[in-house]
């Protein structure tokens, strides 16, 4: 043993550089990701919700088609950060039941018509007492697009429909502020980051879930790939506003943000920091596939419902690109990081 001692010392000294993958502190990585991506995107959501509320307030005051157009644009602007944030739909958004309050699907027309045809005064208390099927972005989409909206905004006074629209926008501001506040400071940001590797697992699983949504529910389903090749245009989630493709693009941006750690002008390591050093080939493949998916989506003409009929090959190409990205994340990335691709914590081996 004594003879072996120098050898062991040499071995230890020669090999004591940490491998790149391991040198990344996962708690710091998650904290930085929260600060660079997650919280700023929730702040954007809150800011866009406030813009929407201003637009709907103006709509009810003026009841003009210009104000209606502005409200519709503001609604689409809210969806972008909301869809981006789908890539990290963890913690408060579920725990505080904000997800369903903002977006309950499928839309239940009967529930919103009951409000529309009712006579209870519409105010914040009334709205907060409604079930999630009568609140949130899908209901707002219906109210802002379904039928001849311009003629139903009211004459001398704002109509009940207009008041409903405005009250929903106010509720959206409340929900998005709750969400942003829950993450900040010593809130969920710290709690989540403290989970270290488990937080990374959750993020990767969340990215897998959103990619499954993008390729499976938002493209494959309307394309008819799950229905014997018969396109299912009714399966497009936001067909009234024509925002379906923008939704998919924003979802992909969320995936890219979690992976790269970049959001707008903010930069952090992201999941990529765990991959780039240990498996640069995989890192390049993932970045390349994100870019390819982005390009394929950009080639699809708006709106998705028309593209499926007129340019199905382009939609297919986008679907195939997203499918390839999903495979890279669900198989290659998960295997590289040792991610438990499940939320169950049943015993291991």
């Amino acid at each position: 043993m004594r003879k072996l001692a120098p050898l062991i010392v040499v071995l230890v000294a020669g090999c004591s550089d940490p491998v790149t993958q391991s040198s990344v502190d996962r708690e710091s990585l998650v904290l930085e990701l929260a600060d660079a991506v997650i919280i700023p995107s929730y702040d954007d959501l809150a800011a866009e919700a406030l813009e929407l509320e201003r637009a709907t307030s103006t709509l009810c005051e003026t009841r003009t088609s210009t104000a209606l157009d502005a409200a519709r644009i503001a609604w689409k602007d809210v969806r972008r950060p909301w869809r981006i944030a789908e890539a990290y739909e963890l913690g408060p958004v579920r725990d505080l039941r904000i997800k369903n309050a903002v977006e309950f699907l499928p839309l239940r027309e009967d529930d919103l018509l009951e409000v529309l045809n009712g006579d209870a005064p519409i105010d914040a208390t009334y709205i907060s007492g409604l079930g999630v099927a009568a609140r949130g972005l899908p209901v707002l989409e219906y109210l802002l697009w379904e039928g001849d909206v311009a003629s139903e905004l009211g004459d001398a006074e704002p109509s009940r429909r207009c008041l409903y629209i405005d009250a929903l926008a106010v509720d959206l501001v409340t929900q998005s502020n709750r969400l942003a506040d829950a993450w900040k400071g010593e809130g969920y940001r710290t709690e989540f980051a403290a989970e270290g590797s488990m937080a990374v697992d959750d993020l990767v699983n969340s990215v897998i879930e959103v990619l499954q949504l993008l390729e499976g529910e938002r493209l494959a389903l309307p394309l008819g790939r799950r229905d014997g090749g018969v396109p299912q245009l009714d399966a497009i989630e936001v067909r009234r506003s024509g925002a379906a493709l923008a939704d998919v693009r924003a979802g992909l941006e969320g995936v890219a943000a979690v992976y790269t750690g970049d959001y707008g002008s903010n930069e952090s390591g992201g999941i990529e920091a765990l991959v780039a050093g240990a498996n640069p080939t995989l890192d390049q493949r993932i970045l390349g596939q994100i870019a390819a998916s982005r390009a394929a989506l950009d080639r699809v003409p708006e709106p998705l419902s028309s593209a499926i009929v007129d340019s199905p090959t382009l939609v297919e190409d986008a679907f195939i690109a997203l499918r390839a990205l999903l495979r890279l994340v669900a198989a290659d990335l998960a295997s590289q990081l040792g991610v438990t691709t499940t939320f169950s914590d049943n015993d291991g081996d």
Binding site: P18, S22, G228, A278, A334
Partner: protein
């Protein structure tokens, strides 16, 4: 040798082992219940993956499944108490094994070990000491009783060690490099896990540990140190991996290698003149099966770690970090095409487990065919787009994408549709 096995030994060590085993199983059942796993694993899934020859094993209705687990908890307590011992152990074995046979996606090596120990426990008199039942006569058992349990546990360690004699394990330090990186934020040991040489030392150390630990535990002079190593080894696995009861079970199992009287302050006299014949034939058959099962993967072409043929019941413990992606392509006799997603049929744990297991992919393909047929389609064929990545290597197709898996035959022979 045979004479030594026939001689009586103090029943204290196996009596205490029985108590610990029973309490551990009781805790396991309660843990299972409280975590909601009865619901998640046996009630919620709309389909279950079956074992070859055991497709007839089905879950009971919800109340029945809860009753099974309640009965299992009672049986485990009775085993621990040594009351109605054989009946309790038989009941525990049957209930536990029934539950494990329901869904192959829930297979764990240590669950299999529990079934084996419970099976042996039906026939071995483990209730001669530390029992609440009033007993007459000395607290002794024939030596072969203790050695039967030792041999069973020893085989687990040995074959787990043999499976580690693999180039990827020893020379690439995989999957420990990946797992240690994922645990580098652990307090105290985390930073050490990040050192590049640590996974190599741990890989070689784990192989050495598995292959030799039984010897170190049996040798009286090395035993205290060996047991300390066992405890440290398994405590580390508790800290790093989500292994549930496995490390605790193996720590309890290690006590079987202690001297038979270790739980007593004063070693009682043992009647050296008593002899109990060793059931050579029965034990011979049992252990022949136990030795052949882990070796049977040599009958199959390709890497067992990839094909997963013959990888169960073989103590191939924690050897690979794999992840998979599967989508099914369905056609009917009119030429129409559908995509079918595993998540529409499986629970989360099933989705994870099945994606790297060709036979489970085949079983789900058959289930999907039946589902589409029930919708009124005819001539349904199901093919799989299945990719698996091991240790971060580029994912590769696992099964032939042109084979109608719904029509592929079940059986033990090598599957020609697995891409090896």
């Amino acid at each position: 040798m045979l004479q030594r096995l026939e001689s009586a030994v103090d029943a204290a060590s196996i009596g205490l082992y029985r108590v610990a085993f029973g309490l551990l199983m009781f805790a396991g059942v309660i843990r299972f219940w409280l975590n909601g796993w009865i619901e998640a694993l046996y009630i919620q899934p709309s389909m279950h993956f079956t074992y070859y020859g055991f497709a007839w094993v089905r879950p009971l209705p919800p109340a029945g499944m809860y009753a099974v687990f309640a009965a299992m908890a009672v049986a485990a307590l009775l085993v621990a108490a040594g009351v109605y011992y054989r009946v309790a152990m038989a009941a525990f074995f049957l209930l536990f094994t029934y539950v494990e046979l329901i869904d192959a996606a829930n297979y764990l090596n240590h669950y299999y070990l529990v079934s084996l120990i419970a099976f042996l426990g039906i026939f071995l008199p483990l209730d001669r000491a530390f029992t609440l039942k009033r007993r007459d006569g000395p607290a002794e058992v024939p030596g072969w009783v203790l050695w039967t349990l030792r041999a069973q546990v020893g085989l687990v360690y040995f074959f787990a060690g043999v499976a580690k004699l693999d180039a990827e394990w020893l020379f690439d330090a995989q999957p420990l490099t990946i797992w240690f990186a994922a645990n580098s934020d652990l307090p105290v040991i985390g930073p050490m896990l990040a050192w590049s040489w640590v996974p190599y030392v741990a890989s070689w150390g784990a192989a050495f540990f598995d292959l030799t630990i039984v010897g170190w535990l049996l040798w009286r002079r090395s035993r205290p140190y060996a047991f300390a190593v066992v405890v440290v080894f398994h405590v580390l696995t508790i800290a790093m991996f989500n292994l549930g009861l496995f490390p605790w079970l193996m720590m309890v199992n290690a006590t079987l290698f202690f001297a038979p009287s270790w739980p007593r302050r004063v070693k009682p006299p043992v009647r050296r003149d008593t002899r109990a014949r060793v059931p050579v034939t029965l034990l011979g058959v049992y252990f022949a099966v136990q030795v052949l099962m882990p070796l049977r993967h040599h009958l199959y072409p390709g890497d067992a770690g990839r094909t997963e043929e013959a990888s169960r019941f073989a103590w191939r413990v924690m050897l690979k970090e794999k992840a998979g992606f599967v989508v099914f392509h369905v056609t009917d006799d009119t030429g129409r095409r559908w995509e079918a997603y595993p998540r529409d049929y499986l629970s989360e744990i099933q989705t994870k487990m099945f994606a790297t297991e060709p036979d489970m992919i085949r079983q789900l393909a058959r289930h999907i065919r039946d589902d589409f047929t029930a919708r009124g389609l005819t001539g349904v064929e199901v093919r799989a787009e299945a990719y698996v990545s091991t240790h971060g290597r580029p994912s590769a197709p696992l099964v032939d994408p042109n084979t109608d898996l719904a029509a592929a035959r079940d059986g033990l022979s090598p599957r020609d549709w697995i891409l090896r």
